[in-house]
Assembly symmetry: C2
Homo-oligomer: 448 residues x 2
């Protein structure tokens, strides 16, 4: 590989030549476009994907060259592209409103979590089961309390349900960012990564239980029924039952399913079956009221390499190798879109900014309690606390649910609280790659 400087120089020259060519090419295309209508709806999506994939790789490349994980570059590229309208360039805005692009991003995060699940096994997860469970429990209780406190302090006029709801949005860790950082740095096989991934799954479940309880209480208040311990217990039992059942039945079912499939003669059976399995568990997990990514991760967790042995023996690729390009195509769509949804104008309102910062501090400090759950020697507690920080898609989904709920005619989450929650999600997401990289680097220096 040439030295960075020489490579950058050559890069700059080639880039210039490329831009020149584009300058000739694009007017031709623009000229050609005059007076034609857009017949096929896939065309707008295709253009959006061209831009998303290009800025993802440009941002990723810049991040990698500066020594950061690629995912941070993808997020920030999304922030830039999503806020171009602030500098008066809004020609691209209709592209991002496409529900198809959003759906591709959602599929992308499913496939990403499935891919990450494939790289772990149930045995490995059980080995870190106890610390994961403790880490997760501490990581739900503390942010819930701190979030409640921050909301009670800065939104004194709001009722107790608003505070409880804001607390609930701080519970669930979004494992996507952390997992990508570990993947980018080649550290997915470490104990810390496994504890975090396990804890993230458990605390997604716990977070959703908290949300279900808070949401259920709000519904009960609106119906004049009041809080019910029975209904709350049912939500909890249902969630735990589903996870246990899908793991146990999955572990029994999946090797049989794949052994059966390896006798089929059509091409592409392994990939189709693997994806169908991932999507089935994602759907089931949504059915029970959990986030679909929980099911996608569990689907990957259940599948072991031995299941695809029948396919590999006849010269096909392993499921890992087949899923990788699909995840490489769709996951950047998710991260760029996450960045795009950051409305930088929200930062200009002091009260929103104040609440956002307080919630971010509550979110970050709250998850540091996680490190208290790890007592095993040689395990890096700081890395675990940091790895649990991001509140990504689950936080956004929670905030969105709050927008739709109301108590006594008042929305539980109003527009400015929503903006503050979104900013909290963004900040925790942005801070994690930097902090995690620093923490892992410190660790490596200490070891070396």
């Amino acid at each position: 590989m040439p030295p960075p400087n020489g490579s950058s120089g050559m890069l700059a020259i080639s880039m210039r030549r490329l831009l020149l060519t584009a300058a000739i090419f694009l007017p031709t295309a623009a000229l050609a476009s005059q007076g034609t209508d857009h017949a096929d709806p896939v065309a707008a999506l295709a253009l959006a994907l061209v831009i998303v994939l290009s800025v993802a790789k440009l941002g990723g490349e810049l991040a990698v060259r500066l020594g950061h994980p690629a995912v941070l570059g993808e997020l920030l590229a999304g922030v830039v592209v999503g806020n171009l309208s602030l500098v008066g360039f809004s020609a691209l805005d209709p592209l991002w409103a496409s529900p198809s692009l959003d759906m591709l991003a959602r599929l992308g995060v499913l496939v990403l979590l499935f891919e990450i699940g494939l790289k772990s096994t149930v045995g490995q997860m059980l080995k870190v089961g106890a610390p994961s469970l403790l880490v997760a429990t501490l990581g739900v209780i503390t942010p819930f309390g701190l979030g409640w406190a921050a909301s009670a302090w800065l939104l004194p006029g709001q009722g107790v349900y608003v505070h409880a709801f804001v607390g609930a949005t701080l519970c669930a860790t979004s494992v996507g960012i952390t997992a990508r950082v570990f993947q980018d740095l080649g550290r997915l096989q470490t104990v810390e990564a496994r504890i975090i991934l396990g804890a993230a799954v458990i605390d997604d479940v716990l977070g959703l239980v908290v949300l279900a309880v808070v949401g259920g209480s709000i519904a009960a208040v609106n119906n004049g029924v009041g809080f019910s311990y029975g209904a709350t217990a049912l939500v909890v039992v249902k969630a735990l039952l589903f996870l246990a059942a899908s793991l146990i039945i999955g572990v029994y079912l999946s090797p049989r399913l794949f052994r059966l499939a390896s006798r089929l003669q059509a091409r592409g059976v392994l990939l189709a079956l693997g994806l169908a399995w991932c999507f089935l568990l994602a759907w089931l997990s949504n059915l029970i009221g959990l986030a679909p990514i929980v099911g996608a991760f569990a689907a990957g967790l259940i599948l072991e390499d031995v299941h695809s042995r029948g396919f590999v023996e006849r010269g096909e690729h392993t499921l890992d190798e087949l899923i990788a390009p699909i995840s490489a195509f769709l996951a950047p769509v998710f991260f760029v879109l996450m960045g795009m949804r950051t409305d930088l104008r929200a930062f200009a309102t002091p009260s929103v900014l104040g609440l956002a910062l307080a919630l971010t501090v509550a979110a970050v400090l709250g998850k540091q309690a996680c490190s208290l759950g790890v007592w095993r020697p040689g395990v890096d507690r700081l890395t675990i606390g940091i790895g649990m920080i991001p509140r990504g898609e689950v936080g956004l989904i929670f905030a969105n649910i709050g927008l739709g709920l109301s108590v006594n005619g008042q929305p539980v989450v109003d527009r400015s609280t929503f903006s503050a929650l979104v900013v909290m999600v963004i900040l925790t997401t942005l801070v994690t790659p930097f902090a995690l990289k620093a923490s892992l680097g410190r660790r490596r220096r200490e070891a070396g």
Copy 2:
């Protein structure tokens, strides 16, 4: 590999065991689902994909075991699933209305055409350029005339624009089915395949020109302007200019673009760039009024293996290998959906059925004129005539456009003509794999 009978027996036993397990598993899931709402919109899409991928592989497997190409099984599996409501089972119907599923199918056909384009080179295409051009021209003129005649005969009450429009929907060959059959049989590298693929691209262009001319004339009549030779010529020139420009500029630009990209350090650059390139040309091709698949195919055609040399040298997969899983995931979605859209009830109306059969005969016979365009010795003319038969997505897009047009307040394509056109698309699509396989088999026997 075990003998077919033993394998089938084992398959049956395992299938029974699997169904038993499912019988235990599914009620648990159904029980769990009571009283929860569907929070994440990706869940419905995930379930649709589970079903689509499963029936695609089941149908494909049956077809392969019966000695047919897998794509036929995927189509017929779609027909079965799409018409379950005829036997009173309509619980799944809302799933198929998802615009996201439709969009994935459209992306799938883009990626499939890109993949097919990757397997050919511009040099190979130019070698068959002259026969392709002649084949394409004959394959547009004859079906247009026969379609007009069939429409004039069976729809005597309709105006000349209706006949012209019906003729136009018979022009464009849908290369997806034929290409998959050649791919399934490992014959993509034959002269016949290249002539057909080249001709399909050219006659997609010609078909769209015919459509643009007919559509433009209808618009002119409605505006009281009348037919304009100038406007017609502009459409023709624009289309030809675009194709020539994108090929020439693409051939110049793409090696430079990929050489530049091979210096980037982020992971997954080759795949992202390849897909962005495919989607860019698909978008440009739609911009000029052509079908996006024309651009996707051209994008693949322009790229040569040497372009990814920089990536392969540092241990990455080739673009072919990276695209294959994405196409294996998305292309079956397209073929199953095509099958699903067949409304079997349309076959019950005699007049629709009569028109459908007449149009199918016109479509099939019309493309046999293509074989007259091949005078090279050793080339299988019958295979070329058969390979040009299917009218898939382009025919459906045309029929759909006709539904939205009207002359003097009357729709150009009414509901029953639309049904007949859909049935024609289905029949030509269904007949091709059988006929093509038979023709290729006859050829192989003659050679052997």
